[in-house]
Every structure is written in C-alpha cells, then in structure tokens.
C-alpha cells in the first residue's frame, strides 16, 4: 500500500515536472504574441505583461497571406502523411515478414538517403523537378516530402511489425485465414497505434519543413507556412509579435491532428483482440 502510494506520488511529480518543461516555452510564445510592441522589451522578462493585446493575431488573420499559407501547408502535410503511411506501411510489412533477395540492398539504400545533408540535394533536385513543372507547385512538394519521409517511416513501420510476434499470424493462417486476412484482422489492429504515430510524425515533419519549401517555391500562391514565417523578418524590422502569433495559430492544426491520432495511441488493446 505504502509502496504504491509512493509510486504514484513520484509518477505524478515526474509528469508534472515534464509538463512544465514542455509547456513553458509554448507559454512564452503565447506571451510574446500577446504583448503589445511597446512593452516587448521594457517588460521582456516579466512572466506576464502589464497589458495584453490581440492586435498581432488580428493582423495575421486579416492582413497577411497567412490563411493562404495555412491552407497550402494543410494540403501538403495531409497528402504527404496519407501517402507515406500507405507506401511505407506496405514496404515495412514486406521487410518485416519476408526474406527476399535484395533486401539488404533495399535497407542500405533507404538508410543512405537519410545520411546525406539535404542542403546538398537542393540544386540537383531543382534541376530534376523544374522540367517536369514541379517547382512552384504543391504537388512537387508532396512528392519530395513523401520521398524524404518514406525511408524513416518504412523503418518505423517495420519495427512495429517486428514487435508483433509472428506466431499470432501463423496461428491464424493455420486456422485457415489467408495471409491478407491475417494481416487485416490480426496485424492491422495491433499496428494501428504505430500507423497513427508514423502519420503524425510525417504530418508534423511536412508541416515544419523549411528548406525545400523555400528553395522549390517562389510564388506566394504556393508558399507554405514556415516560409511565410520568414516574411516577418525583413531588413527593416522583425515583427516578433506577429511572427509568434502566426506560430501560435500554426500550432492549432497540428494539435488537432495529434488529438485525432491520440485515440489510436492510447487505445488499450485488450487480450481479446489478439485471440483472432
């Protein structure tokens, strides 16, 4: 009894400490976004300014191109997340459940793509995509982001599949299920948390990607949100308040996405689910 109480006390304490650590910088973002320009420096280290104002949020929503940037980012990130989850799920399944010729080569190729600094890919990539009309287009960005994220998502999916004992499927197949049937009824429910997590990672990676969004896209019509953030830094001044306000607004879709996949992440898997 005593031990259990002690356990839960330290459990909550640790969690509380971490929540504080995770939220404080976000709180600071919100604080800066709400601080009027004239108090930004004079009350810089106060935890809460003496006067707050929503002017930065109003400006971002009404007078900037941010609604457009949000829309573009949302399209690119969702499309990338869905496509990556599909292709990498398939590839991860293949890597986990089959032994085949060229498997090591495939793994090596996937790994190598993660090891070269992306900065060095910008120029060749531009030359490859431009003749296809894929620069200055959201489709081009989706293709590039899918390729960037696929290797890492594949490994992640493979490891989720690896973590599920093969016996579960084999038992079902002995009971007369097809391989696909076993996949659908046994593996898929067990890997849903993994798929959700992978989708979440890819979504946020695409949501905050800056280098290629900047280099491959020139027109404001096809710009994504991180490039839009840069427009607050000009040679004349940096509108930190507006920039942070845009940043806070940009957290909303990502938060919604997390809440959405949350259901799959915490889904308690009962023993009954794996009996097939």
């Amino acid at each position: 009894m005593m031990r259990s109480a002690l356990y839960w006390a330290s459990h909550y304490l640790l969690l509380a400490l971490y929540v504080l650590f995770a939220l404080f910088p976000l709180f600071w973002l919100v604080k800066v976004a709400l601080t009027p320009n004239e108090l930004l420096y004079s009350e810089g280290i106060r935890l809460w300014p003496s006067r707050i104002s929503a002017e930065h949020f109003r400006f971002v929503l009404a007078h900037s191109d941010f609604p457009l940037y949000f829309r573009n980012s949302l399209i690119v990130s969702s499309a990338t997340a869905v496509i990556v989850a599909l292709v990498s799920g398939a590839c991860g399944y293949g890597l986990s459940r089959f032994v085949f010729r060229g498997k090591s080569l495939l793994v090596a190729l996937l790994l190598i793509t993660q090891m070269f600094p992306l900065v060095m890919l910008v120029a060749p990539m531009f030359r490859l995509l431009a003749p296809l009309g894929l620069t200055n287009s959201l489709t081009g960005l989706v293709i590039v982001y899918t390729a960037f994220n696929a290797p890492f998502a594949t490994f992640l999916m493979q490891s989720f599949f690896d973590g599920i004992p093969r016996e579960l499927e084999e038992a079902a197949m002995i009971d007369g299920a097809t391989r696909f049937g076993a996949f659908l009824h046994i593996l898929l429910p067990l890997t849903l948390p993994g798929i959700a997590a992978t989708g979440g990672f890819v979504f946020t990676a695409a949501w905050s990607e800056l280098l290629f969004a900047l280099m491959l896209i020139s027109s404001a019509q096809a710009s994504t949100f991180p490039v839009g953030l840069l427009s607050f830094v000009s040679k004349f001044s940096v509108d930190f308040g507006q920039m942070m306000a845009a940043g806070v607004l940009a957290l909303i879709p990502a938060c919604l996405f997390f809440l959405f996949i949350q259901r799959y992440l915490v889904r308690g898997l009962t023993a009954g689910a794996v009996k097939g």
Binding site: N37, G44, G133, T135, L214, S218, K235, F236, S237
Partner: protein, 419 residues
C-alpha cells in the same frame, strides 16, 4: 537543357497572360530585400508601368530577405533567371564576374534622366569594370544614432564627434546599471564597423598599397581595429553583442540596452516606429586620425539579366522603377538617400532626422568609404571570415595583430588574383 525550365514557365505564363490581354509578354522581376510594405510599394510602381505598357505583364517574385542570397543563387544556377532583379551591392561582383548581367551603358546613353542623376550614382553603378551593370536606386550611408534619454541620464549633452569622445561617452553610459555605450554588431554584417574603425585609426580608406598588398597590417589600421575590440573587452558593449546581427543591434538600441549604433538611414523605419522623435538623434559618424571620418556607403539597385529575351521592355521597367516618381516613392518607403541631385530638396529629406546624413555629405572631412566590393572574394570575406575571426578577437582567443595578418593575407591574395 539548363534553359528549358525557364522557357517552359515563360511559355506557360505567356499563355496564361494572353488569355487576359490580347498580346502579351511577361517580365519576371525579383525583389530580394523584401518586406511586406516594400512589396506593396513595388507593386504600385509596377502597376503604373503595366498601365503605360498594356502589352507587358510583370510577374513579381519577392524572396524572403533572410535566405534570399541562397535562394536566388539556386534559382539562377538552375536556369530559372529573371529579366530584372534587385541587386544589393555585395552581390554585384559575383553576378558580373560570372557573366550573368547585361551592361546598362547603351541604355543610359539615351535615357533622358541620366543627366539628372547625382554624380555618386554613376560612380557606384560603375564600381566593377567601370561599366554600369546596375542602376542604383538609393544609398545607405552610416551615421551615428544616439539615445537622448540615456545620454541625459549619464549627464552627456551632445553626441560624440571623435573616437576619444566616443569612448568617453561609452564609459559614462556603461556606468548606468544594465546599460551600455555601444550596440556592437559582432555577428552577421559586422564588417562595416571593423572597416570604419580601422580607417579611423589609419586616417585613410586606402585598402591596398600600390603593389596590391593589403594595408590591414599597417599600425594605423591595427590601432583602429583595437579600438573597437577594446570597447567590447572593457564592457562598453553588451556581452551578448558578440553574436548580434542587424535586427539585434536595432532592437538593442530602441529597447534602450545600448545608447549608440552606427547604422544606415533605413534603420529609421524600425526606430521611428518604436521611439519618439525626441528620444533619439542622428549625428555624423565620428572622426579619427587626421580629423577624418569614413562612414561606409552601400547601395542597392536594379540589374538586367544578360539572357533576358525582352531587353528593351526590361530596360523600360528599370527606367520606370528608377524614374523620378518611381524612385521617390521607393526611397520614401525604404529610407535610402536619393539618386537624383534635385531630390535632396524633397520634403522627406528636409525632416530633421535626415540632417545627420546631409551634414555628412556636406562635410569635406567625411569620406564615404566604398569597401572593396569589386573583389570576387569580398562577399565571402565579409560574410564568413570577418565574423569568425573578429569574434575570436572579442572573446580573447586571437590578438588584433593576428587577425589583421589573416585578413591582409586573404585580401592580398584576392587582389592579386584579380589583376
């Protein structure tokens, strides 16, 4: 192959545009020192151009200012070149030496406004190969901004006029708790201050001896460099400022952390937004050895790409941008000094806050210093070598003579390889 993407987009945009107007030609215009308000002004001037030339459509591409150099270089390398581009002074040597830009001399010869430009405009346009590869739209001359409130708090009446006064003033202000004399720019863009202080010590803005070797190792330059390093080392500039760039020094100034900055007139835009007119002043840059002062002069302008398919239209666009009404509207927005001799009397420049600069221009002992931007190696020297080695000096890892030695070596090599 390299040109294909450019052609493809042009054909496409021409096709799109021609559905709107009867016959059309599309010019691509790239803005690089972008800010939202500035882009709007640019759109306005371009609109007047399109109204006067209904068969031409101008596509404006505004690059975010921070990474604009990387972005534009990548575009050009991939063959995605514009017809007209905004050209900062520090980029000019790179693009001219690689043969990317068209000489504007033939167009200037027959332009009606050429004679109305002030003498400095054409001098700066022709910095490289004595040929105008760009037409400046305005100048940036360094002057001394000072915080009147902090000056009053430290019991100082007037802005310092010499290096000695500058140091003395900095000491008095740094005696106030949490305040500093000088907003030092130790990070990106710090090169101007190092050159200005070096020249103060030397009493001359000569960068090379007649044999093409660098003067940086001369005792005068070293004395000047040391003066700047000592300001930081003796605590007269914020400790943080070793990493500061443009936005940091401006913020440090208007937030009242430090009382003096050397800066260009365009900083007025940010400062006048956040400080009341009686809280700050602008005075000519300080004088050093021989009673002379060497504020750096910088400029931006418009250039035409050599592979433009519509050169005459591109020139017309440049002529509109730099025409009298266009240029005035532009400089009102960006806060640069005018290119037209007559514009100095414009009401905008009559404002007292511009007085510091016109005092500088009228003073024969103030020599606007052009840094050796014609050297191909200059851009790298200014953007990478200077921050790294000067930070080492400020942090005490390197001595000033060692730094001067390094700099002189690079400069001498750059000068001699370009002969």
């Amino acid at each position: 192959m390299r040109r294909a993407p450019w052609l493809a987009t042009t054909v496409l945009s021409v096709a799109l545009a021609s559905s709107a107007t009867a016959s059309a030609m599309t010019l691509k215009l790239v803005e690089v020192i972008t800010s939202p308000e500035r882009t709007e002004t640019l759109r306005g001037i371009v609109k007047s151009f399109e109204d006067a030339n209904p068969d031409v459509h101008v596509e404006i591409i505004s690059l975010p200012w921070g990474p604009s150099f990387e972005k534009f270089a990548t575009m050009v390398a991939a063959g995605d070149t514009p017809d007209v581009v905004e050209m900062p002074d520090t980029w000019l040597a790179l693009y001219v030496n690689n043969g990317a830009l068209e000489s504007l001399e033939p167009y200037l010869k027959s332009w009606v406004h050429t004679a109305e430009l002030n003498q400095r405009t054409l001098q700066l346009a022709r910095v490289i190969r004595n040929t105008a590869y760009m037409l400046p739209y305005g100048f940036y001359l360094r002057a001394l901004y000072y915080n009147k409130k902090l000056f009053a708090a430290a019991g100082i009446g007037a802005a310092p006029k010499t290096l000695d006064e500058f140091v003395a003033t900095s000491k008095k202000i740094s005696a106030l708790p949490g305040k500093y004399g000088y907003c030092l720019r130790g990070g990106a863009g710090g090169v101007n201050a190092w050159m200005m202080f070096g020249a103060l010590g030397s009493g001359s803005d000569t960068f090379f001896r007649s044999d093409g070797t660098s003067t940086f190792t001369d005792p005068g330059w070293i004395k000047g460099f040391s003066a700047l390093a000592d300001l930081y080392k003796s605590g007269l500039a914020p400790k943080d400022s070793v990493n500061w760039g443009y936005n940091d020094i401006v913020a440090g100034f208007y937030s009242g952390t430090c009382a003096m900055i050397d800066n260009d007139p365009d900083a007025l835009i940010a400062i006048s937004e956040r400080m009341k007119p009686d809280e700050y002043g602008v005075s000519p840059w300080i004088k050093g050895a021989g009673g002379k002062s060497f504020p750096t002069i910088g400029y931006g302008g418009w250039s035409m790409f050599a592979n433009s398919k519509h050169k005459d239209a591109a020139w017309k666009l440049i002529a509109t941008l730099d025409g009298v009404p266009g240029n005035l509207a532009w400089n009102r927005r960006i806060g640069a000094l005018p290119i037209y001799a007559a514009a100095a009397t414009d009401p905008m420049y009559a404002d007292t806050k511009f007085k510091g600069w016109f005092d500088e221009l009228a003073d024969p002992n103030v020599v606007p210093m052009i840094m050796p931007m014609d050297l191909r190696a200059w851009a790298l020297f200014a953007s990478s070598v200077v921050p790294r080695s000067s930070q080492s000096v400020l942090l005490g890892q390197l001595t000033v003579p060692e730094m001067a030695q390094q700099w002189a070596q690079i400069m001498t090599k750059a000068k001699q390889s370009q002969k």
